[in-house]
Symmetry: C2
Subunit: 274 residues, 2 copies
Protein backbone atom coordinates (compact mmCIF):
# COMPACT_ATOMS: atom_id res chain seq x y z
CA UNK A 1 0.00 0.00 0.00
CA UNK A 2 1.27 3.49 -0.86
CA UNK A 3 2.32 5.35 2.29
CA UNK A 4 0.26 8.40 1.42
CA UNK A 5 -2.87 6.29 1.20
CA UNK A 6 -2.24 4.81 4.61
CA UNK A 7 -1.88 8.26 6.11
CA UNK A 8 -5.26 9.31 4.80
CA UNK A 9 -6.90 6.14 6.11
CA UNK A 10 -9.26 6.63 9.06
CA UNK A 11 -8.69 5.78 12.72
CA UNK A 12 -11.00 3.13 14.16
CA UNK A 13 -12.47 3.92 17.58
CA UNK A 14 -14.93 1.75 19.49
CA UNK A 15 -16.80 1.50 22.76
CA UNK A 16 -19.73 -0.46 24.16
CA UNK A 17 -21.93 2.59 23.52
CA UNK A 18 -21.79 6.37 23.65
CA UNK A 19 -19.09 6.73 26.34
CA UNK A 20 -16.26 6.43 23.79
CA UNK A 21 -17.45 9.68 22.22
CA UNK A 22 -15.61 11.53 25.01
CA UNK A 23 -12.43 10.02 23.49
CA UNK A 24 -13.52 10.92 19.94
CA UNK A 25 -14.08 14.50 21.10
CA UNK A 26 -10.50 14.72 22.42
CA UNK A 27 -9.10 13.20 19.20
CA UNK A 28 -11.06 15.70 17.09
CA UNK A 29 -9.75 18.56 19.25
CA UNK A 30 -6.12 17.42 19.33
CA UNK A 31 -5.66 16.03 15.77
CA UNK A 32 -8.48 17.57 13.73
CA UNK A 33 -7.09 16.37 10.40
CA UNK A 34 -7.80 12.67 11.08
CA UNK A 35 -10.94 10.88 9.91
CA UNK A 36 -12.64 8.55 12.39
CA UNK A 37 -14.67 5.39 11.99
CA UNK A 38 -16.58 4.88 15.24
CA UNK A 39 -18.40 1.75 16.35
CA UNK A 40 -20.68 1.73 19.43
CA UNK A 41 -21.86 -1.74 20.50
CA UNK A 42 -25.21 -0.42 21.74
CA UNK A 43 -27.01 -3.74 21.20
CA UNK A 44 -24.80 -5.44 23.80
CA UNK A 45 -23.88 -2.68 26.24
CA UNK A 46 -22.92 -2.39 29.03
CA UNK A 47 -19.60 -4.26 28.98
CA UNK A 48 -18.77 -3.32 32.59
CA UNK A 49 -20.57 -6.26 34.20
CA UNK A 50 -19.60 -8.90 31.58
CA UNK A 51 -16.92 -11.58 31.86
CA UNK A 52 -13.45 -11.36 30.33
CA UNK A 53 -14.20 -14.18 27.89
CA UNK A 54 -17.29 -12.42 26.53
CA UNK A 55 -15.60 -9.01 26.27
CA UNK A 56 -12.69 -10.55 24.33
CA UNK A 57 -15.15 -12.19 21.89
CA UNK A 58 -17.00 -8.90 21.34
CA UNK A 59 -13.74 -6.96 20.92
CA UNK A 60 -12.48 -9.43 18.30
CA UNK A 61 -15.69 -9.03 16.29
CA UNK A 62 -15.46 -5.23 16.35
CA UNK A 63 -11.72 -5.12 15.53
CA UNK A 64 -12.47 -7.41 12.57
CA UNK A 65 -15.23 -5.02 11.43
CA UNK A 66 -12.93 -1.97 11.71
CA UNK A 67 -10.10 -3.75 9.85
CA UNK A 68 -12.52 -4.37 6.96
CA UNK A 69 -13.00 -0.59 6.85
CA UNK A 70 -9.20 -0.25 6.29
CA UNK A 71 -8.41 1.74 9.43
CA UNK A 72 -4.72 2.56 10.00
CA UNK A 73 -4.90 2.36 13.81
CA UNK A 74 -7.46 1.39 16.45
CA UNK A 75 -8.38 3.00 19.78
CA UNK A 76 -10.31 0.87 22.29
CA UNK A 77 -12.26 3.75 23.85
CA UNK A 78 -13.71 1.57 26.60
CA UNK A 79 -11.96 0.88 29.89
CA UNK A 80 -13.47 -2.58 30.34
CA UNK A 81 -12.49 -3.76 26.84
CA UNK A 82 -9.03 -2.18 27.26
CA UNK A 83 -8.60 -4.01 30.57
CA UNK A 84 -9.81 -7.40 29.35
CA UNK A 85 -9.00 -7.60 25.64
CA UNK A 86 -6.21 -5.22 24.55
CA UNK A 87 -3.26 -7.55 25.11
CA UNK A 88 -5.00 -10.51 23.43
CA UNK A 89 -6.14 -8.59 20.36
CA UNK A 90 -2.85 -6.68 19.99
CA UNK A 91 -1.01 -9.91 19.19
CA UNK A 92 -3.57 -10.84 16.53
CA UNK A 93 -3.41 -7.77 14.25
CA UNK A 94 -0.69 -5.89 12.39
CA UNK A 95 -1.75 -2.26 12.89
CA UNK A 96 -1.22 -0.16 16.05
CA UNK A 97 -3.94 -0.55 18.68
CA UNK A 98 -4.13 1.35 21.98
CA UNK A 99 -6.53 1.34 24.91
CA UNK A 100 -7.64 4.06 27.33
CA UNK A 101 -6.18 2.48 30.48
CA UNK A 102 -2.43 2.89 29.96
CA UNK A 103 -2.37 6.60 28.95
CA UNK A 104 -4.46 7.63 31.97
CA UNK A 105 -2.59 5.36 34.38
CA UNK A 106 0.78 6.64 33.18
CA UNK A 107 -0.07 10.29 33.80
CA UNK A 108 -1.55 9.47 37.22
CA UNK A 109 1.56 7.54 38.28
CA UNK A 110 3.87 10.31 37.07
CA UNK A 111 2.02 13.26 38.59
CA UNK A 112 0.96 11.97 42.04
CA UNK A 113 2.87 13.67 44.85
CA UNK A 114 1.96 11.47 47.82
CA UNK A 115 1.76 8.24 45.80
CA UNK A 116 -1.86 7.57 46.79
CA UNK A 117 -4.11 7.13 43.75
CA UNK A 118 -7.84 6.38 43.54
CA UNK A 119 -9.39 4.68 40.52
CA UNK A 120 -13.12 4.56 39.79
CA UNK A 121 -14.66 2.44 37.02
CA UNK A 122 -17.08 -0.34 36.16
CA UNK A 123 -17.13 -3.62 38.07
CA UNK A 124 -15.18 -5.31 35.24
CA UNK A 125 -12.44 -2.67 35.12
CA UNK A 126 -11.94 -2.54 38.88
CA UNK A 127 -12.04 -6.31 39.41
CA UNK A 128 -9.53 -6.83 36.59
CA UNK A 129 -6.94 -4.93 38.66
CA UNK A 130 -5.53 -3.54 35.39
CA UNK A 131 -5.05 0.01 36.72
CA UNK A 132 -3.14 -1.23 39.78
CA UNK A 133 -0.88 -3.30 37.54
CA UNK A 134 -0.01 -0.47 35.16
CA UNK A 135 0.24 2.17 37.90
CA UNK A 136 2.61 -0.02 39.94
CA UNK A 137 4.69 -0.81 36.87
CA UNK A 138 5.12 2.89 36.05
CA UNK A 139 5.78 3.89 39.66
CA UNK A 140 6.40 0.99 42.10
CA UNK A 141 5.88 3.32 45.08
CA UNK A 142 2.22 4.11 44.44
CA UNK A 143 -0.64 2.74 46.49
CA UNK A 144 -3.86 2.23 44.52
CA UNK A 145 -7.44 2.31 45.84
CA UNK A 146 -10.12 1.08 43.42
CA UNK A 147 -13.88 1.53 43.64
CA UNK A 148 -16.55 0.24 41.24
CA UNK A 149 -19.42 2.68 40.59
CA UNK A 150 -22.05 0.56 38.74
CA UNK A 151 -24.78 3.23 38.81
CA UNK A 152 -22.75 6.01 37.16
CA UNK A 153 -23.34 4.81 33.57
CA UNK A 154 -27.15 4.43 33.98
CA UNK A 155 -27.29 7.81 35.77
CA UNK A 156 -25.46 9.52 32.88
CA UNK A 157 -27.66 7.78 30.33
CA UNK A 158 -30.75 8.92 32.29
CA UNK A 159 -29.41 12.48 31.92
CA UNK A 160 -28.94 12.99 35.69
CA UNK A 161 -25.58 14.70 35.19
CA UNK A 162 -26.05 17.40 37.85
CA UNK A 163 -28.63 16.02 40.28
CA UNK A 164 -29.00 15.34 44.03
CA UNK A 165 -29.36 11.59 43.39
CA UNK A 166 -26.12 11.51 41.39
CA UNK A 167 -24.44 13.60 44.09
CA UNK A 168 -25.61 11.15 46.79
CA UNK A 169 -24.34 8.10 44.85
CA UNK A 170 -21.06 9.92 44.11
CA UNK A 171 -20.67 10.66 47.83
CA UNK A 172 -21.25 6.99 48.72
CA UNK A 173 -18.91 5.67 46.06
CA UNK A 174 -16.08 8.18 46.48
CA UNK A 175 -15.98 9.39 50.12
CA UNK A 176 -14.09 6.26 51.13
CA UNK A 177 -11.37 7.08 48.60
CA UNK A 178 -11.08 10.67 49.85
CA UNK A 179 -10.65 9.28 53.38
CA UNK A 180 -7.66 7.28 52.12
CA UNK A 181 -5.91 10.63 51.51
CA UNK A 182 -5.55 10.15 47.73
CA UNK A 183 -4.17 13.14 45.79
CA UNK A 184 -5.13 11.78 42.34
CA UNK A 185 -8.35 10.21 41.07
CA UNK A 186 -8.51 8.41 37.70
CA UNK A 187 -11.93 8.61 35.99
CA UNK A 188 -11.61 5.03 34.72
CA UNK A 189 -14.76 4.83 32.57
CA UNK A 190 -15.41 6.90 29.46
CA UNK A 191 -18.79 8.06 30.79
CA UNK A 192 -17.31 9.51 33.98
CA UNK A 193 -15.80 12.76 32.60
CA UNK A 194 -19.42 13.81 32.03
CA UNK A 195 -19.85 13.66 35.86
CA UNK A 196 -16.69 15.69 36.51
CA UNK A 197 -18.58 18.62 38.09
CA UNK A 198 -20.40 16.40 40.62
CA UNK A 199 -17.24 14.41 41.36
CA UNK A 200 -15.36 17.68 41.92
CA UNK A 201 -17.99 18.74 44.50
CA UNK A 202 -17.43 15.52 46.46
CA UNK A 203 -13.62 15.38 46.33
CA UNK A 204 -12.94 19.12 46.78
CA UNK A 205 -10.23 21.10 44.96
CA UNK A 206 -7.09 19.37 46.20
CA UNK A 207 -7.45 16.11 44.31
CA UNK A 208 -6.22 15.92 40.71
CA UNK A 209 -8.83 14.35 38.40
CA UNK A 210 -7.25 12.38 35.53
CA UNK A 211 -9.34 12.07 32.34
CA UNK A 212 -8.03 9.09 30.32
CA UNK A 213 -9.89 10.32 27.21
CA UNK A 214 -7.62 13.36 27.02
CA UNK A 215 -4.47 11.34 27.69
CA UNK A 216 -5.49 8.69 25.13
CA UNK A 217 -5.81 11.28 22.35
CA UNK A 218 -2.31 12.52 23.25
CA UNK A 219 -1.00 8.97 23.18
CA UNK A 220 -2.64 8.33 19.79
CA UNK A 221 -0.89 11.39 18.35
CA UNK A 222 2.47 9.97 19.48
CA UNK A 223 1.69 6.52 18.03
CA UNK A 224 0.71 7.98 14.63
CA UNK A 225 3.90 10.01 14.63
CA UNK A 226 6.08 7.00 15.60
CA UNK A 227 4.61 4.81 12.84
CA UNK A 228 4.63 7.62 10.23
CA UNK A 229 0.83 7.43 10.01
CA UNK A 230 0.02 11.04 10.80
CA UNK A 231 -2.30 12.60 8.20
CA UNK A 232 -0.74 15.89 7.14
CA UNK A 233 -2.89 16.44 4.07
CA UNK A 234 -5.46 19.24 4.14
CA UNK A 235 -8.21 17.04 2.71
CA UNK A 236 -11.60 17.22 4.39
CA UNK A 237 -12.15 14.71 7.16
CA UNK A 238 -14.77 12.02 6.68
CA UNK A 239 -16.10 10.66 9.97
CA UNK A 240 -18.41 7.65 10.01
CA UNK A 241 -20.48 6.31 12.89
CA UNK A 242 -21.82 2.77 13.24
CA UNK A 243 -23.81 1.18 16.07
CA UNK A 244 -25.29 -2.25 16.66
CA UNK A 245 -28.64 -0.77 17.77
CA UNK A 246 -30.60 2.49 18.02
CA UNK A 247 -28.82 4.64 15.41
CA UNK A 248 -31.12 7.64 15.82
CA UNK A 249 -30.83 7.77 19.61
CA UNK A 250 -27.05 7.49 19.31
CA UNK A 251 -26.90 10.31 16.77
CA UNK A 252 -28.74 12.79 18.98
CA UNK A 253 -26.49 11.92 21.97
CA UNK A 254 -23.38 12.26 19.76
CA UNK A 255 -24.48 15.69 18.63
CA UNK A 256 -24.59 16.92 22.24
CA UNK A 257 -20.98 15.80 22.82
CA UNK A 258 -18.97 16.23 19.62
CA UNK A 259 -17.59 19.46 18.13
CA UNK A 260 -18.84 18.54 14.63
CA UNK A 261 -22.29 17.54 13.49
CA UNK A 262 -23.01 13.83 13.11
CA UNK A 263 -25.18 13.67 10.02
CA UNK A 264 -25.65 9.93 9.67
CA UNK A 265 -25.30 6.87 11.88
CA UNK A 266 -25.61 3.36 10.48
CA UNK A 267 -27.11 0.37 12.22
CA UNK A 268 -25.23 -2.90 11.60
CA UNK A 269 -25.52 -6.49 12.84
CA UNK A 270 -22.13 -7.04 14.49
CA UNK A 271 -22.92 -10.67 15.39
CA UNK A 272 -23.21 -11.61 11.74
CA UNK A 273 -20.40 -9.43 10.44
CA UNK A 274 -17.81 -9.99 13.14
CA UNK B 1 -44.70 -38.42 20.43
CA UNK B 2 -46.41 -40.27 23.31
CA UNK B 3 -48.62 -37.87 25.30
CA UNK B 4 -47.11 -38.92 28.59
CA UNK B 5 -43.63 -38.01 27.41
CA UNK B 6 -44.77 -34.57 26.37
CA UNK B 7 -46.31 -34.01 29.76
CA UNK B 8 -43.03 -34.74 31.49
CA UNK B 9 -41.14 -32.40 29.17
CA UNK B 10 -39.88 -29.19 30.77
CA UNK B 11 -41.22 -25.66 30.39
CA UNK B 12 -38.87 -23.16 28.78
CA UNK B 13 -38.62 -19.78 30.49
CA UNK B 14 -36.37 -16.92 29.46
CA UNK B 15 -35.48 -13.33 30.27
CA UNK B 16 -32.69 -10.89 29.50
CA UNK B 17 -31.18 -11.70 32.89
CA UNK B 18 -32.22 -12.47 36.44
CA UNK B 19 -35.57 -10.63 36.44
CA UNK B 20 -37.41 -13.61 34.95
CA UNK B 21 -36.62 -15.57 38.11
CA UNK B 22 -39.55 -13.77 39.77
CA UNK B 23 -41.74 -15.59 37.21
CA UNK B 24 -39.94 -18.90 37.80
CA UNK B 25 -40.58 -18.50 41.52
CA UNK B 26 -44.34 -18.12 40.93
CA UNK B 27 -44.39 -21.13 38.57
CA UNK B 28 -42.56 -23.25 41.15
CA UNK B 29 -45.05 -22.17 43.82
CA UNK B 30 -48.19 -22.65 41.73
CA UNK B 31 -47.30 -25.81 39.72
CA UNK B 32 -44.44 -27.46 41.63
CA UNK B 33 -44.55 -30.66 39.56
CA UNK B 34 -43.20 -28.99 36.40
CA UNK B 35 -39.53 -28.98 35.41
CA UNK B 36 -38.10 -25.71 34.10
CA UNK B 37 -35.35 -24.90 31.62
CA UNK B 38 -34.36 -21.28 32.20
CA UNK B 39 -32.25 -19.10 29.95
CA UNK B 40 -30.98 -15.65 31.06
CA UNK B 41 -29.37 -13.59 28.31
CA UNK B 42 -26.92 -11.95 30.71
CA UNK B 43 -24.32 -11.26 28.00
CA UNK B 44 -26.70 -8.93 26.18
CA UNK B 45 -28.88 -7.47 28.93
CA UNK B 46 -30.63 -5.10 29.38
CA UNK B 47 -33.28 -5.47 26.65
CA UNK B 48 -35.27 -2.45 27.88
CA UNK B 49 -33.35 0.15 25.89
CA UNK B 50 -32.92 -1.94 22.71
CA UNK B 51 -34.88 -1.67 19.45
CA UNK B 52 -37.74 -3.96 18.42
CA UNK B 53 -35.69 -5.45 15.57
CA UNK B 54 -32.85 -6.44 17.89
CA UNK B 55 -35.12 -7.85 20.60
CA UNK B 56 -36.93 -10.01 17.99
CA UNK B 57 -33.58 -11.37 16.76
CA UNK B 58 -32.46 -12.23 20.29
CA UNK B 59 -35.83 -13.82 21.11
CA UNK B 60 -35.70 -16.02 18.00
CA UNK B 61 -32.24 -17.29 18.97
CA UNK B 62 -33.36 -18.15 22.50
CA UNK B 63 -36.64 -19.80 21.42
CA UNK B 64 -34.58 -21.90 18.99
CA UNK B 65 -32.25 -22.91 21.84
CA UNK B 66 -35.18 -23.87 24.11
CA UNK B 67 -36.89 -25.87 21.33
CA UNK B 68 -33.69 -27.89 20.97
CA UNK B 69 -34.10 -28.77 24.65
CA UNK B 70 -37.55 -30.23 23.81
CA UNK B 71 -39.61 -27.91 25.97
CA UNK B 72 -43.40 -28.38 25.80
CA UNK B 73 -44.25 -24.70 26.26
CA UNK B 74 -42.39 -21.39 26.50
CA UNK B 75 -42.83 -18.40 28.82
CA UNK B 76 -41.25 -15.10 27.77
CA UNK B 77 -40.53 -13.85 31.28
CA UNK B 78 -39.45 -10.41 30.09
CA UNK B 79 -41.84 -7.53 29.46
CA UNK B 80 -39.75 -5.96 26.70
CA UNK B 81 -39.41 -9.24 24.76
CA UNK B 82 -43.11 -9.98 25.33
CA UNK B 83 -44.01 -6.52 24.01
CA UNK B 84 -41.76 -6.62 20.96
CA UNK B 85 -41.43 -10.27 19.94
CA UNK B 86 -44.28 -12.50 21.22
CA UNK B 87 -46.64 -12.08 18.25
CA UNK B 88 -43.85 -12.59 15.70
CA UNK B 89 -42.39 -15.68 17.33
CA UNK B 90 -45.80 -17.22 18.14
CA UNK B 91 -46.54 -17.66 14.44
CA UNK B 92 -43.20 -19.38 13.85
CA UNK B 93 -43.42 -22.28 16.33
CA UNK B 94 -45.87 -25.09 17.03
CA UNK B 95 -45.86 -25.21 20.85
CA UNK B 96 -47.73 -22.83 23.19
CA UNK B 97 -45.84 -19.64 24.03
CA UNK B 98 -47.03 -16.90 26.41
CA UNK B 99 -45.61 -13.58 27.56
CA UNK B 100 -45.88 -11.66 30.82
CA UNK B 101 -47.76 -8.65 29.43
CA UNK B 102 -51.18 -10.08 28.66
CA UNK B 103 -51.82 -11.91 31.97
CA UNK B 104 -50.95 -8.80 34.04
CA UNK B 105 -52.86 -6.43 31.76
CA UNK B 106 -55.96 -8.62 31.79
CA UNK B 107 -56.18 -8.69 35.59
CA UNK B 108 -55.59 -4.92 35.80
CA UNK B 109 -58.33 -4.18 33.26
CA UNK B 110 -60.78 -6.50 35.01
CA UNK B 111 -60.16 -5.29 38.57
CA UNK B 112 -59.85 -1.50 38.21
CA UNK B 113 -62.80 0.33 39.72
CA UNK B 114 -62.30 3.87 38.40
CA UNK B 115 -60.79 2.75 35.07
CA UNK B 116 -57.53 4.64 35.63
CA UNK B 117 -54.48 2.37 35.37
CA UNK B 118 -50.78 3.19 35.69
CA UNK B 119 -48.09 1.08 34.04
CA UNK B 120 -44.37 1.27 34.86
CA UNK B 121 -41.69 -0.52 32.86
CA UNK B 122 -38.54 -0.13 30.77
CA UNK B 123 -38.27 2.42 27.99
CA UNK B 124 -38.91 -0.31 25.39
CA UNK B 125 -42.03 -1.65 27.09
CA UNK B 126 -43.58 1.78 27.68
CA UNK B 127 -42.76 3.15 24.22
CA UNK B 128 -44.19 0.04 22.56
CA UNK B 129 -47.61 0.96 23.96
CA UNK B 130 -48.33 -2.76 24.35
CA UNK B 131 -49.97 -2.43 27.78
CA UNK B 132 -52.32 0.33 26.55
CA UNK B 133 -53.33 -1.84 23.59
CA UNK B 134 -54.13 -4.94 25.63
CA UNK B 135 -55.73 -3.01 28.49
CA UNK B 136 -58.02 -1.12 26.08
CA UNK B 137 -58.90 -4.32 24.24
CA UNK B 138 -59.93 -6.03 27.48
CA UNK B 139 -61.78 -3.00 28.83
CA UNK B 140 -62.38 -0.18 26.31
CA UNK B 141 -63.28 2.24 29.12
CA UNK B 142 -59.86 2.28 30.82
CA UNK B 143 -57.46 5.18 30.67
CA UNK B 144 -53.78 4.17 30.80
CA UNK B 145 -50.84 6.22 32.09
CA UNK B 146 -47.39 4.81 31.30
CA UNK B 147 -44.06 5.77 32.83
CA UNK B 148 -40.59 4.40 31.99
CA UNK B 149 -38.29 3.89 35.01
CA UNK B 150 -34.85 3.23 33.45
CA UNK B 151 -32.93 3.32 36.75
CA UNK B 152 -34.99 0.63 38.53
CA UNK B 153 -33.16 -2.34 37.00
CA UNK B 154 -29.65 -1.00 37.78
CA UNK B 155 -30.80 -0.05 41.30
CA UNK B 156 -32.08 -3.60 41.93
CA UNK B 157 -28.91 -5.10 40.50
CA UNK B 158 -26.85 -2.81 42.77
CA UNK B 159 -28.81 -4.29 45.70
CA UNK B 160 -30.43 -0.95 46.66
CA UNK B 161 -33.82 -2.56 47.24
CA UNK B 162 -34.75 -0.56 50.34
CA UNK B 163 -32.72 2.63 50.17
CA UNK B 164 -33.27 6.43 50.24
CA UNK B 165 -31.89 6.77 46.69
CA UNK B 166 -34.31 4.16 45.38
CA UNK B 167 -37.12 5.85 47.31
CA UNK B 168 -36.24 9.23 45.78
CA UNK B 169 -36.17 7.81 42.22
CA UNK B 170 -39.45 5.95 42.88
CA UNK B 171 -41.01 9.18 44.08
CA UNK B 172 -39.88 11.02 40.93
CA UNK B 173 -41.00 8.27 38.57
CA UNK B 174 -44.34 7.44 40.20
CA UNK B 175 -45.73 10.59 41.91
CA UNK B 176 -47.05 11.84 38.57
CA UNK B 177 -49.06 8.62 38.16
CA UNK B 178 -50.52 8.91 41.67
CA UNK B 179 -51.58 12.49 40.82
CA UNK B 180 -53.55 11.08 37.87
CA UNK B 181 -55.78 9.35 40.42
CA UNK B 182 -54.96 5.78 39.28
CA UNK B 183 -56.39 2.95 41.39
CA UNK B 184 -54.23 0.20 39.82
CA UNK B 185 -50.49 0.09 39.04
CA UNK B 186 -48.97 -2.65 36.85
CA UNK B 187 -45.36 -3.54 37.73
CA UNK B 188 -44.47 -3.99 34.06
CA UNK B 189 -40.90 -5.27 34.42
CA UNK B 190 -39.89 -8.53 36.06
CA UNK B 191 -37.39 -6.75 38.34
CA UNK B 192 -40.00 -4.42 39.80
CA UNK B 193 -41.77 -6.81 42.21
CA UNK B 194 -38.47 -6.75 44.13
CA UNK B 195 -39.11 -3.02 44.74
CA UNK B 196 -42.70 -3.60 45.87
CA UNK B 197 -42.08 -2.33 49.42
CA UNK B 198 -40.58 0.98 48.26
CA UNK B 199 -43.27 1.42 45.61
CA UNK B 200 -45.93 0.79 48.24
CA UNK B 201 -44.44 3.57 50.41
CA UNK B 202 -44.77 6.04 47.53
CA UNK B 203 -48.25 5.08 46.29
CA UNK B 204 -49.90 4.49 49.69
CA UNK B 205 -52.36 1.71 50.51
CA UNK B 206 -55.23 2.58 48.18
CA UNK B 207 -53.62 1.60 44.90
CA UNK B 208 -53.70 -2.04 43.78
CA UNK B 209 -50.26 -3.29 42.66
CA UNK B 210 -50.46 -5.91 39.90
CA UNK B 211 -47.56 -8.36 39.68
CA UNK B 212 -47.52 -9.89 36.17
CA UNK B 213 -45.20 -12.71 37.37
CA UNK B 214 -47.98 -14.10 39.57
CA UNK B 215 -50.63 -13.71 36.85
CA UNK B 216 -48.34 -15.29 34.24
CA UNK B 217 -47.88 -18.45 36.33
CA UNK B 218 -51.69 -18.68 36.65
CA UNK B 219 -52.06 -18.22 32.90
CA UNK B 220 -49.43 -20.90 32.23
CA UNK B 221 -51.38 -23.38 34.38
CA UNK B 222 -54.48 -22.73 32.26
CA UNK B 223 -52.54 -23.13 29.00
CA UNK B 224 -51.04 -26.46 30.11
CA UNK B 225 -54.49 -27.65 31.09
CA UNK B 226 -56.07 -26.53 27.79
CA UNK B 227 -53.43 -28.33 25.70
CA UNK B 228 -53.38 -31.44 27.93
CA UNK B 229 -49.74 -30.75 28.79
CA UNK B 230 -50.04 -30.65 32.57
CA UNK B 231 -47.53 -32.93 34.30
CA UNK B 232 -49.47 -35.02 36.81
CA UNK B 233 -46.75 -37.59 37.45
CA UNK B 234 -45.03 -37.58 40.82
CA UNK B 235 -41.56 -37.81 39.29
CA UNK B 236 -38.88 -35.51 40.70
CA UNK B 237 -38.55 -32.19 38.92
CA UNK B 238 -35.33 -31.43 37.04
CA UNK B 239 -34.69 -27.72 36.66
CA UNK B 240 -31.84 -26.45 34.49
CA UNK B 241 -30.40 -22.94 34.28
CA UNK B 242 -28.43 -21.50 31.37
CA UNK B 243 -27.01 -18.00 30.90
CA UNK B 244 -24.99 -16.31 28.17
CA UNK B 245 -22.52 -14.84 30.70
CA UNK B 246 -21.53 -14.91 34.37
CA UNK B 247 -22.96 -18.28 35.47
CA UNK B 248 -21.63 -18.06 39.04
CA UNK B 249 -23.00 -14.56 39.70
CA UNK B 250 -26.37 -15.66 38.29
CA UNK B 251 -26.44 -18.74 40.50
CA UNK B 252 -25.95 -16.80 43.72
CA UNK B 253 -28.67 -14.29 42.76
CA UNK B 254 -31.03 -17.15 41.83
CA UNK B 255 -30.48 -18.77 45.20
CA UNK B 256 -31.67 -15.62 46.98
CA UNK B 257 -34.93 -15.62 44.99
CA UNK B 258 -36.02 -19.21 44.31
CA UNK B 259 -37.65 -21.66 46.73
CA UNK B 260 -35.31 -24.48 45.63
CA UNK B 261 -31.53 -24.56 45.48
CA UNK B 262 -29.89 -23.90 42.12
CA UNK B 263 -26.97 -26.29 42.07
CA UNK B 264 -25.57 -25.66 38.62
CA UNK B 265 -25.78 -22.93 36.01
CA UNK B 266 -24.26 -23.39 32.56
CA UNK B 267 -22.65 -20.69 30.44
CA UNK B 268 -23.47 -20.94 26.72
CA UNK B 269 -22.71 -18.86 23.63
CA UNK B 270 -26.20 -17.98 22.40
CA UNK B 271 -24.88 -16.09 19.35
CA UNK B 272 -23.35 -19.26 17.93
CA UNK B 273 -26.12 -21.63 19.00
CA UNK B 274 -29.14 -19.51 18.15
Amino acid sequence: MVVDMVNKAPIGVFDSGVGGLTVVKEIMNQIPGESIIYFGDTARLPYGSKSKKTVIRYTRQIVHFLMQKNVKAIVIACNTASAFALETVKSEIDIPIIGVVKPGAKVAAETTKNGRIGVIGTEGTIQSGIYSQILSKTNPKVEVFGKACPLFVPLVEEGLIDDPVTYEMTRRYISGLVDKDIDTLVLGCTHYPLLRKTIRKVVGNDINLVNPAYETAKSLTQVLSTYGLYNDSIAKTNHKFYVSDGAEKFKSFANTILPCEVVETKDINIEELG
